[in-house]
């Protein structure tokens, strides 16, 4: 509040104070925008939203095997549209007892005549069951490099946690293979091709 006699110098000080405080909010909120990235990841980790599966389990868990229950696990493979590989699960689905480590494998082949580095991103549906799906071995933990024309059988070892909610009896594990960002084929494939090809389709 200004007093009855206007004091310009006081006004200038007040303005500086207001600007300083507001700039803190501005900078803080800019930082908050970036802080949302780790917050989002932590939130998804805790809740298992987005079907994000957990990190690698170091040793096989010695979980009690629940033989009274059978869960169907289905396998899906997809490729990001720019990924020139062939990629598919070697079995469509398996029936497992919760707690039982199970090994299946996926098949991939590089259809091009140059080396491509790929990264698979896993996802489990239904999303809320994702925290109960543990993997002890997976090709998604590391990048996969396929030479020109090379093919590969890639194993996955997983355990369905016996704590899995009762209402879930089918789980779907899906992998999407992407060209690793920053690998030499990537910038061309990711940024230029789809745009041009789309344009021609129209």
């Amino acid at each position: 509040m200004m007093s009855a006699e206007p004091k310009p110098s006081k006004g200038v000080d007040d303005n500086k104070k207001v600007i300083t405080r507001l700039m803190f909010i501005v900078i803080g909120m800019f930082g908050f925008g970036f802080a949302l990235v780790p917050i989002y990841d932590v939130f998804c980790d805790i809740t298992g939203l987005n079907g994000k599966t957990g990190e690698q389990i170091a040793a096989p868990l010695n979980l009690e095997i629940d033989t009274s229950r059978v869960v169907t696990v289905e396998f899906v493979a997809s490729l990001n549209e720019t990924m020139p590989w062939e990629f598919q699960p070697e079995v469509k689905s398996v029936k497992v007892n919760p707690g039982q480590p199970t090994k299946i494998s996926y098949y991939a082949r590089n259809k091009t005549d140059s080396e491509i580095i790929g990264q698979a991103v896993p996802s489990v549906a239904p999303g809320l069951a994702a925290p109960y799906f543990q993997k002890t071995e997976c090709f998604c933990f590391t990048e996969q490099t396929l030479e020109a024309g090379e093919e590969k059988h890639m194993p996955v070892i997983f355990i369905v946690d016996p704590e899995l909610p009762d209402n879930v009896d089918v789980l779907t594990l899906s992998y999407t293979f992407f060209i690793k960002p920053g690998s030499k084929a990537a910038p061309m494939a990711l940024n230029k091709e789809p745009k041009n090809s789309k344009h021609q389709e129209l």
Binding site: M1, A4, P8, F30, F32, G33, F34, V121, G127, K195
Partner: protein, 532 residues
């Protein structure tokens, strides 16, 4: 600094002349005028794009434009209307009116004011340059919708996306500076006796809006910065291949985006709260509840963002939370509508153009509010999501809400700005043609939306043809009726109308701004008035 202020006193009525008056202006009225003209210009540019869209949608099939260009039109129409029309118009009105309403000589930070305006032509110059290049066949303008969801704007964005990002950065800086200026003015420049709870509602709504701007524009800046690094520097914020997540983009965007929609409506609430008491010749009903309702809406706007993303897949608990929080907003909004209606109750009402626009605002904004409630219901939203029902909803709140509020405010205050009364007959023609045509334009969109017509698509199924043809006719009438507004305003500004305005202008008008002569002097209150 005190020396500078002394100097101002010396050259009391000295107005700089020529182009320099505008380029180097530190005067709140001149800057306000520039903001308003800028907004008006953008209104016609963005409106022309809307007419391209409606011309294409007049009948099924592809008539005039390629789908690729149609996408650029929807994108730029949205961006220009939001950032280039509504927001600058509000800042322009704040520049003109806030110092006069609180008894200040000018804004607190006049040089920053100049800078925040002059960033805008640069920002929109860059954005429109991308369209010019597109028309010249050099790549595409931004084509991913005004919400620029990743990966459309990152992996698949055209080269001009980087223009867009830089443009959004500039707009953000401009808005943040404008907001800081308004807060500093309101906190430090009020006349003696002008306590917070005596401030006109327009000042209050802008005070709260300015805080919203400061809180969310940096988040938008963060989002576009992440896009920039994803596109050009190999980061993977939104790229699943690198461990990022495109859905996270939507969370960050709507954390900005939902408060943003209140940024675009709260100042209109303020304008209506000035106009309704004036023409009802009564004090506003429930002043303090108006203030608290505005503050509640602002607070709630931060915890409802995910109602834009129900279909991305969320646990039921999340959907319920965002559904209930969203519906809660209806309470303070209802308080406001109730107060406006109660202010009119038993008032001695007259229906000059500003009051007509204000009443249309209350009625039509409430329709937009109701459709908002329908959209807030998660199960219903699965049906409505991304259809023309959403388009109808947000055009009711933004065109007949925000834009009608601005038009009401311009008619209400232009006699004070220019000293001339606008042409009332033309004003009424403008009002009636606009109000009828805007409903012909947007009301049928509810029906085609409920029937499943998706938004942002240049073609549609045959069964939607009649309603789309109606909407297109409404669009062209609405668009061209704005020329009446333009003509009326130019005529008034040039003093070609016969009636001169008195200082009070409207006989029910109360407040400090109406104690100044019309046209308002170059410097508003050189000695602070005493407010009782």
């Amino acid at each position: 600094m005190s020396a500078v202020i002394e100097e101002h006193h010396d050259h009391h009525d000295h107005k700089p002349t020529g182009i320099g008056r505008w380029l180097f202006s530190t005067n709140h009225k001149d800057i306000g005028t520039m903001y308003l003209w800028f907004s008006f210009t953008m209104f016609f540019i963005g409106g022309a794009m809307a007419l391209v869209i409606r011309a294409e949608l007049f009948q099924p099939g592809l008539q005039f434009v390629e789908p690729e260009f149609f996408n650029q039109m929807t994108t730029l129409h949205g961006l220009i209307m939001v950032f280039g029309v509504i927001m600058p118009a509000f800042v322009g009105l704040a520049n003109w009116m806030v110092p006069m309403m609180i008894g200040a000589p000018d804004m607190a930070l006049p040089r920053m004011n100049n800078w925040s305006f002059w960033l805008l032509p640069g920002a929109f110059g860059i954005l429109i340059a991308s369209l010019v290049m597109s028309l010249m066949g050099m790549g595409s303008a931004p084509n991913f919708g005004w919400t620029f969801y990743a990966p459309l704007s990152t992996t698949y964005g055209p080269a001009s996306t980087d223009y867009f990002i830089f443009s959004v950065h500039l707009m953000g800086i401009s808005s943040i500076m404008g907001a800081i200026n308004i807060i500093a003015t309101i906190m430090n420049m009020r006349a003696p006796g002008m306590t917070y709870m005596k401030m006109p509602i327009f000042v209050w709504t802008w005070f709260i809006t300015a805080y919203l701007l400061i809180a969310v524009m940096p988040v938008l800046a963060g989002a576009v910065t992440m896009m920039l690094t994803d596109r050009n520097f190999g980061t993977s914020f939104f790229n699943a291949a690198g461990g990022g997540d495109p859905v996270m983009f939507q969370h960050i965007f709507w954390f900005f985006g939902h408060p943003e929609v209140y940024i675009m409506i709260l100042p209109s609430f303020g304008i209506i709260s000035q106009i309704v008491p004036t023409f009802a010749r009564k004090k506003i009903f429930g002043y303090s509840s108006m203030v608290y309702a505005t503050a509640s809406i602002a607070f709630l706007s931060f915890i409802v963002w995910a109602h834009h993303m129900f279909t991305t897949g969320m646990p039921v608990a999340g959907e319920l939370f965002f559904m209930y929080a969203t519906m809660l907003i209806a309470v303070p909004t209802g308080v406001k509508v109730f107060n406006w209606v109660s202010t009119m109750w038993k008032g001695s009402m007259t229906f000059e153009t500003p009051m007509l626009f204000a009443i249309a605002f209350i009625f039509l904004f409430t329709i937009g509010g109701f459709t908002g409630l329908m959209l807030a219901m998660t199960p219903a939203d699965f049906q409505y999501h991304d259809t023309y029902f959403v388009v109808a909803h947000f055009h009711y709140v933004l065109v007949t809400g925000a834009a009608f509020g601005i038009m009401a405010g311009v008619y209400f205050w232009i006699p004070k700005w220019t000293g001339n009364m606008y042409d009332e007959t033309l004003g009424k023609w403008h009002f009636w043609i606009s109000t009828i045509s805007v409903n012909v334009l947007f009301f049928p969109m509810h029906f085609v939306g409920l029937a499943g017509m998706p938004r942002r698509i240049p073609d549609y199924s045959l069964q939607f043809a009649e309603f789309n043809a109606m909407a297109s006719v409404g669009a062209f009438v609405f668009g061209f009726s704005q020329l009446i507004f333009l003509y009326n305003m130019i005529k008034t500004a040039r003093g070609k109308t016969s009636v001169k305005a008195t200082s009070q202008v409207w006989d029910g008008a109360e407040g400090l701004e109406w104690t100044l002569p019309s046209p308002a002097p170059f410097h508003s209150f050189t000695t602070p008035p005493q407010v009782k």
